[in-house]
Structures are given as structure tokens and as C-alpha cells.
């Protein structure tokens, strides 16, 4: 498995997607190591359960249920993995956009994007596993709704002057005057 991943340059792909850094940050092994270990343990468990099944001690039904559940675990793991990669990518994009637009608190914006995407990925993974589906969906809805409401209230009350300035800049010529100070870079 490791050989196949090395040949297919899985590490490079993982680095490009930002997954490698995420795993590194989380003090986890490299993505190829993780995948190899996952395949190893799934195979090992599979043969172990097959052995138990062959013993005929009345566990066949449970073993078959477990086997049926394995694809869902795999899909949930993939959802989390892609969710983390997407969270890393979009939070970085938000950070760069906020910095280059001179918005206040770029890291807060970036962190909020990352948090929202990680929560979304986890909610989807739990739903995939069928664990506390209703609870997870309700929790996610409440969390997301609260976040949006909080942002709306914060912007409406705390940032009313900012909102006014933004609207004025959007609809008046002040915006153009500000750009007169800037140099044409090209």
C-alpha cells in the first residue's frame, strides 16, 4: 500500500490540498501513513471477524452487521478528511481576502470560516454514520442559526456606524475619491 501511494505521489497531492499541514498541525502521521494504517487495520479486522465467524459461536449476525457498517465508516472518514481540507483552504482564502481588503480582524473571519466548515463536515459525517442524526441536525441548525443571528446583531448594533459608512461608500462618490490616492500599479 505504501509503495502504491509513493508511486502515485499521494504525499504531493496531499500537500497541495493542504491536508498534510492539517495532519501535521493535529500531530497525526502523514496522510500516506494514515491511509496505509487504515487499510491495514480494516484488512486485519476483516480477517479477524471472518475467523470468529468461522468458529460458529453465534456471532455471524453481528459480524455481518459490522461488515455492512464499514463502508459508512469509510465514507464518514472521507467526509471529515475533505471537510478539513476544505476548511483549511477556505479559511486561508478568507484570511487573504480580509488582509488584502484591509478588513478588521482577519483571523477572526478566517477562524469563523474554518469553524463553520469543520462543524458542517462533522455533522455530515455523523449523519453518515447514523449516530444521533436528529440531535446532530438540530444542534447544527441551532449553532448555525445562532451564529448568523449573533453576527447580524453584532453588525447591526455594534457596527452600525461601520454599516452606515459602508453603505455611504457603496452609494456615494466617496469611494472614487479614496481611489484617487492610489497609484496605478501597472
Amino acid at each position: 500500500m505504501r509503495g502504491i501511494l509513493r508511486i502515485s505521489r499521494f504525499e504531493r497531492i496531499s500537500e497541495n490540498a493542504g491536508t498534510a499541514r492539517l495532519l501535521n498541525k493535529a500531530a497525526l502521521p502523514s496522510s500516506s501513513e494514515l491511509l496505509s494504517a487504515f487499510v491495514f487495520w480494516v484488512t486485519w479486522l476483516g480477517f479477524f471477524l471472518l475467523g470468529i465467524s468461522e468458529l460458529g459461536i453465534g456471532l455471524q449476525e453481528h459480524v455481518s452487521h459490522l461488515f455492512l457498517y464499514l463502508p459508512r465508516i469509510l465514507v464518514a472518514a472521507l467526509i471529515v478528511l475533505f471537510g478539513l481540507a476544505a476548511a483549511s483552504f477556505f479559511s486561508r482564502a478568507a484570511l487573504l481576502a480580509a488582509v488584502n481588503s484591509n478588513w478588521p480582524s482577519p483571523r477572526l473571519i478566517s477562524g469563523a470560516v474554518r469553524f463553520a466548515l469543520v462543524v458542517l463536515a462533522l455533522a455530515m459525517a455523523f449523519e453518515q454514520l447514523g449516530l444521533a442524526e436528529q440531535t446532530i441536525i438540530a444542534a447544527f441548525s441551532i449553532l448555525f442559526g445562532a451564529l448568523m443571528l449573533g453576527l447580524a446583531i453584532a453588525f447591526g448594533l455594534g457596527g452600525q456606524h461601520l454599516a452606515r459608512r459602508m453603505l455611504e461608500r457603496r452609494f456615494s462618490r466617496e469611494h472614487e475619491r479614496e481611489h484617487e490616492d492610489e497609484l496605478s500599479p501597472l
Binding site: 482564502a93 484570511l95 488582509v99 488584502n100 484591509n102 481611489h179 490616492d181 497609484l183 496605478s184 501597472l186
Partner: protein, 480 residues
């Protein structure tokens, strides 16, 4: 290839024209107010300097809502002043096509190259409509291609010392260090190329996806020409009225640095062997720089640099070496009075970004975006250092910057080729302490060696530069 780049309607119009000697291309976008005047200037220029040559005017319109395309065709059909019309020996053709319509690419340049190739034109001038265009531009852009066998003509303008600084501080020094040619306007909106260059570049592999939206196509043309050893020259066009006030620095960075970094990958074996640089022939006139006072918000640049370096630490640590990042952090931590961003540090930053782009350590677009706040820091340093400088002094400092890029190319090569322990020691002059004597200006010197290089070197543009602007010092200069 050409058929894919030209829409059916465009192709039909070109076939009606037949073979020509010269093509003048006018890309337009909501410029109806000036295109009539530009078309008249083009016609007069063609009649005056190329009376016996077959010529066609090609307009590619980028979805104008003010009738620019119609204005071009109307001006092309209008009668010329009697004295100009008298020398006409040929029918003047004009065709117009909508950019990107019915083709596989949103490109502006590729269809023009394909059209020039299809019409068997020997020379093609691309002119961005502005009030500055005059008949002499036609001669200056086309004659070197048509009569002197040059493959590419890039312009030189009379520009303010603080105009086009992304080109002056990043694109020009890096291109010069990479390809060894001192082309001052590698990303021009007015330029000329030969039919042979167009045909050969179109036949070769593309350096980018033709479907891509934001690509510095002119930069690709210049890069391809110098990398492949075509004869390139510069032509002085005079003042250029700014038509594209791009204040979106991220977009400008994508079109310039992003494009240059991408093109480096396609010509590795060519630029890696180049050492030093040489000027390209200047066919007419000389470079000019003006220095009228400008109102500039330098404090904002400084603040954005500081916040950029602070907030982007996680991103920058993935792109830059620990030492470079530490120096940047130190610069960002210093106040305006002690601010220092040396030429060597800037060259190292750009090279490390280029290598990170090559290795795709993170998303390539994110790498380009992360360069923007750092460029603001260098911009701040340059504006502060040169706010009272004369054109000659500015030119000397730009020359020092270029030499820093050339010296540190070894460092880039080491990083690019993945050599362990890549070091700029020996190529990087000792970092100078902030100039206490000029603490009020809040700048640092560019390093002793760089300064001596700048002072002693007369191979650059400085020796052929004259300053038509006002005197060097401007008491009226009031930074915002």
C-alpha cells in the same frame, strides 16, 4: 489552432480582407469617446509612413455598451483630411469582432495573433485606445518589425516616477534577472509583434490554458520572445494617458507576478543559464521620467504591510524561509521611523515566492495573494525613500534593485533545484543599519554594495535617461 481562436464571423471578415502587410489592432472596452480620434491617428500614420503597404484595422471589442465597435467602424469609413487622403494608394480595411464570442478562449491577444497569421501580415501593432495615440506611434511600433526584422517592439513611455511601480519593483527586475534583457515595459498595452513571431508561438505549446481568464498575455508574449531568442527592441511613444486605473492590486498581482511565476516553469532550461543582463535596442527617443508632486497615502501602505505580515504568519511560514520571515517580521515590527525593507530582502522574498509557487506548497493563487501585503511594504519603502528624489536618483535606485535581483539569482537556482542548504550568503551584501541621518524619512539604505553598484554602473537605463519633469525637490509634496 487559428480556427479555434477565431469566430466564424471574424474569420469571414478576415477572408474578405485577403492578405495584408500590416495589422493594427485596437482592443476596445467602453472607449467610444476616444476611439474615433485613435482610428484617425492610425489611418494618418499608415498613410504617412506606409503608403504602399496593405493594411487592416482589427477591432476586438470586449462587450462595450457605449458603441465603441460601431464608433471604430464609422471612424474607419469616414473621410480623412484632404492632404492625408491624397497619399492613399491602398484601400483601408477595418473589421470588428466581439472578444470571446464564438471561440474557445476569452483571450484578447491570441485571436489577434491568429488573425495576423491568417492574413500573412508581416507586422502587427496592438494599440490601447487613449487620447495619447498619435500617427507617429504607428511608425514607431511597426517600422522596426516591418523594415528592421525585429520580432517584438515594446514601448517606453514618459511616466511619473511613481507610476507603474508593480512593474518597476517586481516585474522588470525579475524578468531582467531571469532572461537577461532589460525590457522596461514587459507588460504593455501598446506593442508590436511580427507575423513570424505570432505564427511560431501559436504553433508551439501554450504556456497557459487558453480558457483561463486572468493571464498576463502581453507578458507571455514578451517572455516567450526573449526566452526563445527573438530580436526585441523598445520604442519611445511619449506620454501615455492612463486608461486602465487598476486599483485592484490582487488582480494586478495575478496578471503580472502570477503570470511570470507560471511562465518560469515553461522556460526553465533557458533562464537558468542566463547571467547578468543587457539593454535591448531603443529605436527612437529615450526613456523619460517625470516627478511632479503626488498625493499618496503612505501611512495606509505601511499599516497594511504591518497587519499583513502579522496576520498572515501561518501562510507566510509555509512560503518563506525562517530567516526571511524573521527579517520581514522585524521590519513589520519597526515603526515608520525605523522602517527598513532592503532590496536584497525584497529580492529574496520574491524568489522564495517564485519557488513556493513552483512547488505549489499551498494553493498557487493564495501564494500570489500573500505577496500583495509584502509588495505594499516595499512600495512604502520606495515611496518614502524617493519622495524628494529626482528622476536620475530614482533610476539609480531602481538599477540597484535590479542588480540585487541579478546577484541573488544563484539563490533562486539553488532553491528551485532543491539544493540542500540553499544560501544567499555571498550574494547578499551585509544588511545596512537604518540611516540615522535620514531618520526623519524613515528609510534604510539598500546595502553598501547595492549602492556602489548603482553609483558605478552606467550600463542600465540611467545613462540614456533625461528628466523633463520639474526640479527634484518638491516642497509642495504632501503625503496624506
Amino acid at each position: 489552432m487559428a480556427e479555434q481562436l477565431l469566430s466564424d464571423d471574424f474569420l469571414r471578415q478576415l477572408m474578405n480582407v485577403g492578405e495584408v502587410d500590416l495589422v493594427v489592432a485596437l482592443p476596445t472596452h467602453n472607449q467610444a469617446a476616444v476611439v474615433g480620434q485613435v482610428v484617425q491617428a492610425v489611418r494618418v500614420g499608415l498613410l504617412k509612413y506606409f503608403p504602399r503597404e496593405r493594411a487592416v484595422l482589427i477591432n476586438t471589442d470586449d462587450g462595450s455598451r457605449d458603441g465603441s465597435a460601431q464608433a471604430v467602424l464609422q471612424a474607419a469609413a469616414a473621410s480623412l483630411p484632404a492632404d492625408a487622403a491624397r497619399s492613399s494608394l491602398r484601400t483601408f480595411h477595418a473589421v470588428s469582432a466581439r472578444r470571446g464570442e464564438g471561440t474557445s478562449t476569452p483571450s484578447e491577444l491570441l485571436p489577434l495573433m491568429a488573425a495576423a497569421d491568417l492574413l500573412q501580415a508581416k507586422a502587427c501593432a496592438v494599440i490601447s485606445p487613449s487620447a495619447s495615440v498619435n500617427p507617429d506611434w504607428i511608425q514607431r511600433l511597426l517600422a522596426p518589425l516591418y523594415r528592421q526584422q525585429y520580432a517584438l517592439v515594446t514601448p517606453l513611455y514618459r511616466r511619473h516616477k511613481f507610476e507603474g511601480l508593480l512593474i518597476k519593483l517586481l516585474l522588470y527586475p525579475m524578468m531582467r534577472a531571469m532572461y537577461g534583457k532589460r525590457i522596461r515595459e514587459p507588460y504593455a498595452t501598446d506593442f508590436g509583434f511580427s507575423g513570424r513571431l505570432a505564427a511560431e508561438l501559436l504553433a508551439g505549446p501554450m504556456a497557459w490554458e487558453p480558457e483561463a481568464e486572468e493571464v498576463g498575455e502581453q507578458l507571455w508574449l514578451t517572455t516567450s520572445a526573449v526566452a526563445n531568442g527573438y530580436a526585441v527592441c523598445e520604442a519611445f511613444l511619449g506620454a501615455k494617458a492612463q486608461t486602465d486605473h487598476t486599483s485592484d492590486l490582487v488582480r494586478a498581482m495575478r496578471q503580472t507576478a502570477g503570470a511570470l511565476f507560471a511562465f518560469l516553469e515553461g522556460s526553465v532550461e533557458r533562464w537558468q543559464t542566463v547571467q547578468g543582463s543587457e539593454p535591448v535596442p531603443l529605436t527612437d527617443g529615450s526613456a523619460e521620467m517625470t516627478s511632479e508632486p503626488l498625493r499618496l497615502n503612505r501611512k495606509r501602505l505601511h499599516a497594511m504591510f504591518r497587519s499583513g505580515v502579522t496576520e498572515l504568519q501561518p501562510v507566510l511560514s509555509a512560503i518563506l524561509s525562517a530567516r526571511t520571515l524573521a527579517e520581514l517580521t522585524g521590519s513589520a515590527g519597526a515603526g515608520e521611523e525605523q522602517f527598513c525593507f532592503s532590496d536584497q530582502l525584497w529580492a529574496r522574498v520574491v524568489y522564495e515566492f517564485a519557488v513556493s509557487y513552483h512547488k505549489a506548497v499551498i494553493s498557487r493563487d493564495h501564494i500570489i495573494q500573500a505577496l500583495v501585503p509584502l509588495y505594499r511594504g516595499k512600495l512604502y519603502e520606495f515611496l518614502t525613500q524617493n519622495r524628494h528624489a529626482s528622476a536620475e536618483e530614482v533610476e539609480g535606485r531602481l538599477e540597484a534593485l535590479c542588480l540585487a535581483f541579478e546577484r541573488l539569482k544563484v539563490y533562486l537556482l539553488q532553491l528551485w533545484n532543491g539544493q540542500e542548504g540553499a544560501s544567499y550568503e555571498g550574494n547578499d551584501p551585509p544588511r545596512a543599519e537604518p540611516d540615522v541621518g535620514r531618520a526623519g524619512e524613515g528609510v534604510c539604505t539598500s546595502g553598501a554594495a547595492a549602492d556602489s553598484d548603482a553609483g558605478g554602473d552606467s550600463r542600465g537605463m540611467a545613462h540614456r535617461l533625461r528628466s523633463p519633469g520639474r526640479s527634484a525637490r518638491h516642497p509642495a509634496y504632501q503625503p496624506v
